[in-house]
Subunit: 138 residues, 3 copies
């Protein structure tokens, strides 16, 4: 069985972190799959998908850690060439990676108690962000 | 065909790296799958899964590289808010990501000769760590 | 349906970035899969797979960002122990991760307009690099 859906989020950029866990649980429920995998993929080259304990203090830590590594004020050949000022967004996204795949076992996503699935939008301003969730299994 | 199993490891934390390749090969063997994928997922928000040449010198390099990026002594909003002192563990885990998916081709995991599948436990002390391996294919 | 193929690239090392998107589209076409996933996995412990906007300025930014984090001149226990001088290559590869899994929906890879699938060869010289693409679905 294969069941895919897009999720959409209105994001503010600069590594804005959104919890998708509830929506993904609903998609898995609609899929009818009790054992398999849920592939979660960020569409576009300036966003990432990972897991995190989704609580405000840690969300702030993650945004600051990304700012430390690749600052929004860094110079980049990309920004200088294209004038779109988001070289840092691309670096953050490509480093963290566009997707994770989460197992589904006995009808539930296999996740720790404090482990949420998130999309991180690294772009340099508000936008609409799409994530595709592909559920496969039996 | 779908076959899932949990693996468990007693870890010491601070990015303790454990080779899971042998155990995953056995799970693939029990699954009966000769072509497909093995999804390897760390349960919890303070561990990662990746591949590495699993030899002691490089394992030490990786632990030191993680310490350089996000030191166990770093200040974090997470640690200050919750008092659990493992903000660095969460950052390391979310950056590296909770899972990889390894292809299975003609009865074997597709891996380089010096490429092992590992779980890295970033938490700030010894614990029991669980990894789920979901094998899918034919 | 399951369909797997190896891709090969002659690479120059030091985080040489190659666009695989066209070749992966062709593999998906040959697979006959219209809904499912394409797992893209770098064979070996000194390469990564991710997505990026594949344009020369950003490719240079990524190479420089990797050089900043783990310089080709860094000292490592791995290089000192084995004399193969590629400790930095292993660190870059294990951090970025060996694979991504891209959804296939209604006959096409789900990708942003400026989002390409790339292999990054971090090794310390020219070599032949292999990537395995496992397409699964219906």
């Amino acid at each position: 069985m294969i069941h895919g859906e897009f999720l959409e989020r209105r994001t503010r950029g600069f590594s804005d972190i959104h919890d998708l866990t509830g929506d993904i649980r609903e998609i898995v429920g609609r899929s009818g799959v009790s054992d398999g995998t849920a592939n979660v993929f960020a569409v576009g080259s300036t966003a990432s998908v990972t897991t995190i304990e989704f609580e405000p203090a840690l969300v702030r830590d993650m945004e600051e850690a990304l700012e430390t590594l690749w600052s929004r004020h860094m110079r980049s050949h990309h920004s200088e060439t294209w004038g779109d000022d988001n070289g840092f967004s691309h670096l953050r996204a490509s480093f963290m990676g566009p997707n994770i795949t989460v197992p589904i076992h006995q009808g539930a996503l296999v996740l720790g108690t404090w482990q949420q699935i998130v999309v991180i939008d690294h772009d340099n301003g508000p936008r609409e962000r799409r994530v595709f969730v592909q559920v496969m299994g039996e």
